[in-house]
Symmetry: C2
Subunit: 643 residues, 2 copies
Amino acid sequence: MKSDSSLPSKDTTAWGRRRFLNTAALAGLTMGAAACTEKESGAANAPAAAPAAAPDAAHSGANATHLKPGELDTYYGLWSGGHTGDMRVLGLPSGRELMRIPCFVPDALVGWGITNESKKIMGTKPDGSLRYTVGDSHHTHASYKDGNYDGRYAWINDKINARIARIRLDYFICDKITQLPNVQGFHGIFPDKADPVDPAINYTTRVFCGAEFSIPLPNAGLDDGSKYRSMFTCVDAESMEVRWQVLIDGNCDLTATSYDGKLAATNQYNIEMGVTYEDMMSSERDACLFFNIARIEAAVKAGKFKTVGTSKVPVVDGTHEANQDPTTALTAYVSVPKNPHGVNASPDGKYFICAGKLSPTATVIDLSKVLEWFDGKLEKLDASIVAEVEIGLGPLHTAFDGRGNAYTTLFLDSQVVKWNVDAAIKFHAGDKAAKYVVDRIDVQYQPGHLNASQSETKAADGKYLAVGCKFSKDRFLPVGPLHAENEQLIDISGDKMVLLADHPVRGEPHDFIIFKRELLQPKQVYSLDDFPLAIKDPKESGVFRDGKKVTVKMTSQAPAFSLREFKLKKGDEVTLILTNLDKIEDLTHGFAIPNYNVNFIVNPQETASVTFIADQPGVFWCYCTHFCHALHLEMRTRMIVEA
Amino acid sequence: MKSDSSLPSKDTTAWGRRRFLNTAALAGLTMGAAACTEKESGAANAPAAAPAAAPDAAHSGANATHLKPGELDTYYGLWSGGHTGDMRVLGLPSGRELMRIPCFVPDALVGWGITNESKKIMGTKPDGSLRYTVGDSHHTHASYKDGNYDGRYAWINDKINARIARIRLDYFICDKITQLPNVQGFHGIFPDKADPVDPAINYTTRVFCGAEFSIPLPNAGLDDGSKYRSMFTCVDAESMEVRWQVLIDGNCDLTATSYDGKLAATNQYNIEMGVTYEDMMSSERDACLFFNIARIEAAVKAGKFKTVGTSKVPVVDGTHEANQDPTTALTAYVSVPKNPHGVNASPDGKYFICAGKLSPTATVIDLSKVLEWFDGKLEKLDASIVAEVEIGLGPLHTAFDGRGNAYTTLFLDSQVVKWNVDAAIKFHAGDKAAKYVVDRIDVQYQPGHLNASQSETKAADGKYLAVGCKFSKDRFLPVGPLHAENEQLIDISGDKMVLLADHPVRGEPHDFIIFKRELLQPKQVYSLDDFPLAIKDPKESGVFRDGKKVTVKMTSQAPAFSLREFKLKKGDEVTLILTNLDKIEDLTHGFAIPNYNVNFIVNPQETASVTFIADQPGVFWCYCTHFCHALHLEMRTRMIVEA
């Protein structure tokens, strides 16, 4: 059966060209606060003026963010760190940063990239140095069970080097990093929520990764951009190995997954496969590309795949050309307006919503109709679009309150718009009296991602909305040319949104999730058995020599290391293993060797090791760098390197 | 004239041995909250119980920290980052972290340690790689004029590698790093406040640096710890070159300077020059070591110095042996009780106060009397001690409110004690009715440094007190084994201290300063002329080849780079120079090269450069990593490396 799954036409549009932003208009838009005052008026269905609640009017709400000393937050937030390459853990509603979890980039505090254990996770070159010391994390999502977070894992992407990292949410540490083959600009990421076939697997077993930049395959330096291609990748949630990839037309931006495990999708802003930004925005419509997970895995199982270059990962064909018959198609390209940004799953499991970015619209796609199309029961794929409504200028991402409302950031308007999904569907169906825009609020300034508490779960609770504002400008004391981002917190529990607080965050967070604190039960002391090299008794301490290879075994117990001194010879290859035998929560020790570029910490009952060449003779006072005890300053051991 | 400036006797003590903590008692002290319940009762002059104000009682005070959205803080705080190796900028009273200034350690966000400009400041090995990627910053202080901060510079130490960094407070960037010769464990740091000789120089021109660890000089691997020595170092505030060093007995911990520029001092916790912690605490008294700056500089000028090893820095002799005659002495060792920690200058300019750490006392030293001693007019140096009073267990650091009160952290008691300096002096002089302890407040938990707003200036205003608690334990949501530190904020404007808020900070801040926002006027846009390599016109862009050496010149203006693509040949040595021509505040761009381990930012009107070998052929989409514009995702340039 032939369908409408051809590439969206460059000329077909439900909205007049004047409603879209074109190259000239965008080139003139500078994103200072001045831009905020330029608003398109008279958008259908929008209140005439933005009735942003004045902070003073929000007195009772404002107090909600203001914890008393010792009072705990009620929500965790996991924030991507952007090009700091880490994951941040915030407490909400206070907005306080409680932890940074090193992932893609070295961290001098914990010794991430210094210890042998962390270097193994990060990846090294043949000479033992780190393969990468930069990263660019954008999206972070956590593992699911029964449609809610289960507290096992979170994942985060690195766009620069196409890496995915996994975070253990018991210890809040990164335990695996995988580099994706055959792709560049890995951007969107989302775990599945169930298996598409086995209903007993009602939890996450896959993570989907979208690649934004198209490249030659294999990457051999071709000039001709029309020959470049992009991939959609599936990573195994447990083994962190790449299961399969899908070759596609266009590119991948954000990623979403359905609650039944059957569908994943990515919004595409460059179906033109252009190489300049003018080319990338030449078409009036782009796409939301759906993946039929069960069929893809069946194809892989049946051997219907190729491989690319030296990679052994199975690559199935998800291009238009190869997927004309809906009843066998692996992919489906639903048309959405110009350069969409963001695709988000509603908590009732029914819809994916794409925001328009260069179109002032949100597009609501009914997942049951997409499945009907895959079953050959829906003639036109775009009939799965049940609403496409104007909401404001520069819509990017959408969150949900669990009460039928969606909240979308409007980058150009510097607003969040609250709109009702059912009303939008009615309006789209012809009921022009359906008032789908419920409320608008000004934010400061130029919001990118937003998310509501529990928004991306079936347990969306509609309490708090955090908005990641890209420009903070005049909202904090000036600190030179580089500004903090402004993660604003909004109370969405009532009819009107109420701005509660401005929270500065070091650049550059993108996406984040917010969930109830009860969903996590972190452990605060390691077990010695977690570490194969653990030195369980101080009596095992010592210097063990095998020719030029020397192993130094040591333990820490406040206020002393088990060795008061240790001697080496110049030129020794030294592996120093340190186990912290202190068992008390929060009693972390550090270990620094002056001039040897070594520092790392050992948390209670943790073991870590470093390897270095003893190339400088002399006396080196190795000292505890993490405050531990009244005699912390006196906690040292002498490394004597004989010439 | 012979004086009492011999090493403080190991047996002489004004307090019974039972009042001091000995090795056995300390070894048994584990620093969890449990330790807080162990308090020595009946300390002279102390209220019977700690009357910590309940948070509820502080309602009006608590609101002071709770800014409305958009409301600005009234104070800046400069926080040392500990072994993150950076400086943090906090806004107070909100406690929000507004900026991290990379210094000693690479920073993937800004490209610190990636760009050629930052590598030059950080220091490289002959192969071009960074000399150090770890650091341990403890103390940060700012430049003075007329006894208050003048907003020019701040300095910060790196204990691991004995480095001092300078921060420009106009742009909030590190512009110089100097490694100190001949020392290990550089810990305390303080700028002078005036010249000791020239009254016209009423501002900072020197920075003093104390080295904590004694080592062989030169460092040639001696076992015999009794031959190790430590140094006190003077760095030029403008050139950042090392002016001179003083060879001393004992070690240096913290550092303080007088308002008249004549004296600097360091507290010494290891006059024993022991190599184990038991040795380091064997004496009942240690010292506060004073330096006579004018005499030291006269000695240097007169050529009365040596040099050590390959270093050319003049080293004068500040040992006991060489400084027996007060009228010519360069140094003076005032005796203070066991293992003191912290030496702080009172804002009236009269006193330095040492806290006892292993003694429950604070020692008040009258600077006018120290100067009398140097003039041969005070027979016994220890007569400069005008008070030595019990204040509680584990006293570490002292801050001031400008109203005659001192505030000292009690590490073991987990308290801050407020005490009146004049009353303590009266009590010490024999007036046992003088009630010097004014108030106590519990803090959570184990406080190290503290500081009050403007405390270390003549403009101490007695409004806020921040307390750096080393253990946070149960004060924040659990995030695994590594805990945030807890920087608590206390209102000290009234008679009673009132706890306002808990602020988590990533480990491990030590010292910090807090000052009024009016004292800084940062700039938020660079000038193109700040950068010799600036590309001032997009027309200058291009690829310029000189054999295998290639220079790529590019500019950024949202949403595009001036080059849409650039071609290289495999093996080229490429220097890429990027100037951000955007002028609008907050319009920062990033530049990442996938798989080439390159990412850095350019703030408005900034120029940065990177050098790399084009060793991988293929197409690499260089993209903007710092959100800039609605077409940020589309802002890319293609690097094509031909095989």
